[in-house]
Symmetry: C2
Subunit: 388 residues, 2 copies
């Protein structure tokens, strides 16, 4: 069974033009989403080296001259090479800005003012443009010049005390979550302003930052904390939410791992054949979770995962096996979602990557186009006469 | 310094009406964002008990009859109580649907077909509606009936092997990340379709699911994995990204914790006064990370965090202290972002929560309105004659 694909011309942002001045992850992630939704996205890159992400190689993987990571975040875009310090290049870029629907950048506060591509100047020539700006910690305040990097922002945000168990030090989320979340927030702001523009004709300014996005991701927990003011702690074992009642967490079985979400203690006592759990009333499942979790852990350790699933799933207990990518990718559940696609560079190299997670009108928003070579579309968008 | 607030009438979705049939977290999180962006959001709830989230109490915190958690996800919305199995209620709800701009639900596949609120039926009376559907694992495939719960989907997604260190079992992200990410994806799909509707007049269908959203969050890592096919492992200590080169991670100091992002080994050798790091060439920072990280850890353990910051920050090393919420909330950097606001219920109870992380036209999207009492707006939206 293969799922249908939404044709490029039916995608909701077909015909819109986005200029992506951003480097690294958050801004380019936002522009990637806009490209999957149908927009034409043009990266404006420095002629020497381009987006610094081109050289950020992880796991020793490159696709062409650029890192696989760069392709992951920039597939399906075009590239214009322009030196914003060169007057002719800058004039050509300003002509692109004058006819763009959206522009995105993540320059430090003040840089675009010096270049003459700040919101006021841009709006004067293009009142309909939606102008997106990504920062680490906002444009004001004492943290404005701190490096806007994912792990560092996670560390400042308090988020690293939510993973792992009590005896551990802080445990960060193991991927660039704040870059992705900030990119998602930028997309939402931009799209909402495009909705408004459809009514009023006016564009606007969208600002997002890693730290506000980190607060938003923790909004459930921060709301609990700021109305309680007691710093919560992770459970001794099987922590999965500092405010979660037992059994919420992941437990070892005889041969693997099992996750349990919200399950009444009496149900577990019965199904795990664990009468000791009956010593706890259900309202104690939060306050006495450090006593309860070890009892559940001891019970689950006695049998293999599949044996427990065979007992728990028919009883509609909220549980799941814990998979790694290798096992996940062999499941039919994974295949049914068609989560993978192949991207190709202009010179024919291929790599597998994940698709956009949104389905529209029943169709997937897949694309087979890799990231552009640096400046591959310069001549298409900048008339040579411009560069005189 | 207090930041300006964008007036309700200037918000980009002002005048749009959203019907939120969803329960628990992902769908209501999406509708919350639409409310912050200016839409009027009406929850359609069962007359008995309403959204199940009203009774989901975490940290023993309630605000009124409903949990603080419910208020966190449903502030600023209205509530209509309607029994979709009652013909008169259903007829009244269908009249609301006929004039809505957006509807969102997270019913299991097939439920809305039986009720007569599936996309085809709704589109026939309201061709401009944008129809959002949230599932755990899509509408097809063998996982369609699995419980769509955050921790369980995290466990199946492979994500739990990204946090923590190598000797540990799987470590989940400690908050409902997939609910939030799926909600964010839903918002993006809905807004993109509203942009398209502004051009064509036609609405459309938006489908998102927890598992595709989990794949998307891991897209950097999954792209590396699916072009390599070797399952990566977490580092022995200080893991922060299975594909990250040393020093990427969090380290203990003499009195706390310090995060280091991308830093050349030679720079660290010098600044940490740690010549042993000079035994490693920079290209070995990934492949030999398990040898390098312990050397860095031993060095950092010798002095307090502030002493290291005083050395590293002036050298522009990408580093940060690791804060908890209590310390974060006392910083000027936190205050400068104005991340908190107070929500009030109709009967005057108050709670602090976080604001929307997006700034538009320089203004914050704050709101002081708490979640509605069950059915508080029924009479406003459903004529009594309807219920005969």
């Amino acid at each position: 069974m293969s799922l249908p694909i939404l044709a490029p011309e039916d995608r909701p942002l077909a015909g819109l033009k986005v200029l992506d001045f951003a480097q690294f992850l958050a801004g380019p992630a936002a522009a990637l989403r806009l490209a999957d939704l149908g927009a034409t996205v043009i990266k404006i890159e420095r002629p020497k080296g381009g987006d610094l992400c081109r050289g950020l190689v992880i796991n020793d993987q490159k696709l062409d001259d650029s890192s696989l990571l760069f392709h992951t975040f920039n597939r399906g875009k075009q590239s214009v090479a322009a030196d914003l310090k060169n007057p002719a290049d800058l004039a050509a870029v300003k002509r692109l800005v004058a006819e763009a629907d959206v522009m995105i950048h993540n320059f430090r506060p003040g840089v675009m003012d010096r270049i003459g591509l700040d919101i006021e100047t841009v709006r004067a020539v293009n009142p309909g443009i939606v102008y997106g700006h990504v920062t680490g910690y906002g444009n004001d305040g004492p943290w404005r010049d701190k490096p806007g990097q994912d792990l560092l922002a996670q560390s400042l945000s308090g988020m690293c005390w939510l993973q792992g168990d009590r005896a551990q030090g802080p445990v960060p989320v193991g991927f660039a979550l704040l870059d992705i979340a900030t990119g998602n927030n930028l997309v939402q702001g931009i799209l909402s302003m495009l909705v408004r523009r459809g009514v009023s004709g006016q564009g606007g300014l969208v600002e997002v930052d890693l730290m506000s996005s980190a607060m938003d991701l923790q909004f459930e927990q921060l709301t609990a904390f700021f109305n309680d003011d007691t710093l919560p702690s992770r459970t001794e074992i099987s922590n999965a939410n500092v405010y979660g009642a037992a059994p919420y967490g992941i437990y070892a079985t005889a041969d693997g791992w099992l996750a349990l979400a919200m399950v009444p203690l009496a149900v577990l006592a019965d199904l795990l054949d664990c009468p000791a759990l009956n010593d706890f009333a259900q309202p104690e499942a939060f306050g006495r979770r450090d006593e309860i979790k070890p009892i559940i852990a001891a019970a689950l350790k006695t049998r293999p995962t599949q044996a427990w699933l065979d007992v728990l799933e028919p009883a509609d207990v909220w549980c799941a096996e814990v998979l790694d990518w290798a096992r996940l990718s062999r499941t039919e559940g994974f295949a049914a979602l068609s989560p993978l696609m192949t991207m190709r560079t202009a010179d024919g190299r291929e790599a597998r990557t994940t698709r956009c997670p949104i389905r529209l009108d029943g169709g997937l928003l897949t694309s087979g186009v890799g990231a552009p070579a640096l400046g591959a579309h310069t001549s298409q968008h900048i008339d040579k006469a411009d560069a005189v």
